[in-house]
Amino acid sequence: DQVHVFAAASMRNALDAVAADYMAKSGDKVVISYAGSNALARQIIDGAPADIFISANESWMDEVEAAGLIADNLRRDLLQNTLVLVAGDPSVQGPVDATMDLAGMLDGGKLAMALVESVPAGQYGKAALEHLGLWQVAEPSVAQADNVRAALALVATGEAPLGIVYATDAKAEPRVHVVGEFPDNSYPPATYPAALLTESEDEGDRAFFEALSGEAAGAIFAEQGFRVVN
């Protein structure tokens, strides 16, 4: 009767809209738990009553899959996000590429990112900077936040002049502006895989899972700044 979705917290705005739209159309009820992908994955492995899992990265989805909790062939890459460089000061302009004068733009300030070893946005950001040959310059100045949203807040409050966040986040924060997108090839695709879990028992679960890849959902995701896979 109810669809239980465990979803990465950063998807909240988009996924809430998708779910509201779906519920209005189908009459089914969708209940979404937002938390860090890592916490959700561990909970699912421990037997959480989730029907659908949407992770912000591949590795935690891999863990869940390894635990044998994904229904056959029902894992798919749902969305991709774009990594952008943001600044609080509107005069900061750039192309975001290997020629960028990162040190000059920082001017002794910090570069806000999500945790570079553990949170996907941070990992992608680090990969991108490495690819552009800027990591050496950036590393001493990186301030790693708990999550993308916190990194964004550091820029929004003027604490850090620059930050690396997802395009989806930058879009919703009026106090920052996008300096530029990182080149697509500079980091691995920031993919959000979704999976129908073995826990799911009825058609409703499956219907919502399919709806996530549907057109209506795709429109909403795109509007929020995501790139829809397929």
Binding site: R12, Q43, A48
Partner: protein
Amino acid sequence: MPDWLTPQQWQAVLLSLQVSAVAIAASLPLGILTAHALARWRFPGHALLNGLVHLPLILPPVVTGYLLLLGFGRRGIFGAPLDEWFGIVFAFRWTGAALAAAVMAFPLMVRTIRLSIEAVDPRLEQAAATLGASRGAVFRTVTLPLILPGIIAGSIIGFAKAMGEFGATITFVSNIPGQTQTLPTAIYTELQVPGTEAQIARLVAVSVIIAMAALIASEWLGRRLARRLAGT
């Protein structure tokens, strides 16, 4: 209910109240017992018990949450037998949120109560013993009434902590609206996406109002008790 919170958020407020109240009420007897043991008994393992009680304070809440998941999750070493034999399930239920809140509030409660037990003049307990009161009776009739202010203080600080508890809860029982989504996890959800400052402010205001009400009530109670003890 005013519509400046969504129904789901109101639900989280009510659940938080329920979870915190149940967590404190249910753990209070054990808290008093533990405080008494730590304050007045000498036994091997005293330091160990003391350490164990403080553990949730020392560890990052998320770690406590994971340990709870390992211990009291559906497949946990205590969780599985509890479910099988008594049908008690914590995993992903509000009871689990209460367990997490209780565990996190426990060290605060015990510390506070213990301090007030240590402040009880042992000569009064001796007087009670000479009048025929057994250890248990002394505790019930003398120690317990005298530490009432400490118990109230401990419960309130525990309640406040339970109302604010987030890391262990979301890690242990996740953030399921209507079932395990408490006020702090609701705030967390808002915090994850930009542009939700107003919502967050409202939720925080509700938190603060509830906690202030509890604090004022406890101050009032405490002052009444103090006046009674002074005899005037």
